[in-house]
């Protein structure tokens, strides 16, 4: 034993050196990722497994902080999302096909452009929707607007170069030609300005059989709306005894409160149809009173 102490004291400088070297190398290994990786590579597989198991357990204790971090990160990403920014788009430009007829005699009558709602109200009596397409993208007055699931939303009433103002169905002056899907009878869908979930369908004669839940579609006799798009479903059947017509409460198919993506449908024959209509009226009114 004494010899051991003698040995130690004789070489104590060397042992101090060794000790300090070990401490320095230990610092080096434990604080530097590169060196740790090197040493782990040298260490045998068992050590590596124990380390990774320990790491897996340890991860549970930092999960909460990790969650918080991810949540913060998500929040920052959310602010970078594309829908925070609006952009003028010209991809929806309609180009007249040089051959509008196909071999079966079909021709394009309606052309759809996508648009995004940028402004929308439901709680006024005169509700308008603003979408991010305008006259420079080919939007014109009186085009129909439907929601992304095919429900009628309204009609374009005014355009600026990059935006269009849409008169929503929830506007007291709005009146849409509608037809009952079951019988095909035409009526007029309007809004009474009270409840944004319901429209009123008028001018359906009481001879027609109507049940709750019947679908109401846009009618085929409208200039601006393509036929067959859903306006809503009958929610309440009420008979107006003074006129002998139904007063049907219709639950709107489009959810106006969370409207986001819409399509703007252009009736390519609109100008021709309306011109013909006006010419006809003028012709009849100015025609000589005495036929024959």
């Amino acid at each position: 034993m004494r010899n051991v102490f003698l040995f130690l004291s004789r070489y104590r400088t060397f042992f101090t050196f060794l000790l300090l070297q070990v401490v320095a190398l230990w610092f080096l290994v434990s604080y530097n990722r590169f060196h740790r990786a090197k040493f782990l590579g040298i260490a045998n597989e068992v050590t590596g497994r124990v380390n990774s198991q320990y790491n897996r357990v340890e991860d549970y204790f930092t999960l909460k902080e990790e969650n918080r971090r991810i949540h913060r990160y998500n929040d920052s990403l959310l602010n970078l999302l594309k829908n925070n920014f609006a952009k003028h788009d010209t991809t929806g430009q309609f180009l007249q096909d040089s051959v509008p007829f196909d071999t079966l005699g079909h021709y394009r009558r309606y052309y759809a452009r996508p648009a995004t709602v940028v402004y929308n109200t439901v709680n006024s009596q005169k509700n308008f929707i603003q979408v991010n397409r305008g006259s420079s993208q080919g939007i014109k007055d009186n085009m129909a607007v439907i929601s992304s699931d095919g429900a009628v939303v309204g009609v374009v009433v005014n355009t600026s170069p990059n935006f269009a103002q849409v008169m929503s169905l929830l506007h007291v002056q709005n009146s849409v030609s509608a037809s009952l899907k079951r019988s095909g009878d035409f009526g007029t869908a309007e809004w009474d300005g009270k409840d944004p979930r319901f429209l009123v369908l008028k001018k359906i004669p009481k001879t027609v059989e109507v049940k709750n839940g019947d679908s109401v579609l846009s009618s085929p006799v409208s200039f601006n709306y393509p036929p067959g798009y859903l306006i809503g479903t009958v929610a309440e059947v009420k008979l107006d005894n003074t006129t002998g017509m139904y007063q049907l409460r219709i639950r709107t198919a489009a959810n106006f409160t969370n409207l986001q993506q819409v399509h703007i449908l252009e009736n390519l024959d609109y100008a021709e149809q309306t011109t013909l209509n006006q010419e006809t009226k003028k012709k009849i009114e100015t025609a000589p009173k005495n036929p024959k």
Binding site: F17, L20, Q21, V29
Partner: protein, 177 residues
């Protein structure tokens, strides 16, 4: 001036220069860092005990390590330098002559040639060990050698510049003093 105070000031100066000047400048040829801080260890008095020399060396390196965020790297190299220093001094200075006429190693105390050898060997050791630990792989032995040699050359240049620019006024110690 008190030895301890003098060496403390020296220590602070060397670390300061190393951390805020030599580590900050763009590395020469992208990979050579000039080192001078270990001159502090080389300048420690002859009379310091080997244990204290080792511990001082260790903490000198560790201080620099905490500035450069590489704990243990310079500490290991400095400990090696501090361990080898007494051996080199013993070899280079004849035992019976001027060994203790001056307080610390200097060109004046050891003559220029032995002092140059002393500085050269310890510099080479320091850089060799440092670069070895830093690279930790002999993957490209030529790169390793080039880096050691180049770093040593730059450091020697710095050290001798310092010796010439700031000659230390060392008193010749006599028995009466």
């Amino acid at each position: 001036m008190n030895d301890f105070l003098k060496n403390t000031i020296r220590f602070a100066l060397f670390i300061f220069v190393q951390v805020y000047v030599l580590d900050k400048i763009p590395h020469l040829h992208k990979f050579i860092t000039p080192y001078i801080y270990y001159l502090f260890i080389l300048w420690l008095p002859f009379s310091i005990s080997r244990q204290w020399l080792l511990i001082t060396g260790f903490f000198t390196g560790l201080t620099l390590d905490y500035f450069s965020m590489t704990p243990g790297l310079h500490a290991a190299a400095c400990t090696l330098v501090a361990y080898v220093r007494p051996f080199i001094i013993n070899i280079l200075t004849p035992r019976d002559s001027s060994e203790f006429n001056y307080k610390e190693p200097s060109p004046l105390a050891m003559q220029w040639t032995p002092y140059a050898v002393y500085v050269f060997i310890l510099t080479l050791l320091h850089h060799g060990y440092l670069v070895l630990l830093e690279w930790l792989s002999f993957g490209s032995f030529l790169d390793f050698l080039i880096k050691v040699v180049a770093t040593t050359g730059i450091s020697l240049l710095l050290i001798f510049t310092v010796e010439l620019l700031f000659p230390r006024k060392l008193r010749f110690r006599t028995n009466t003093a």
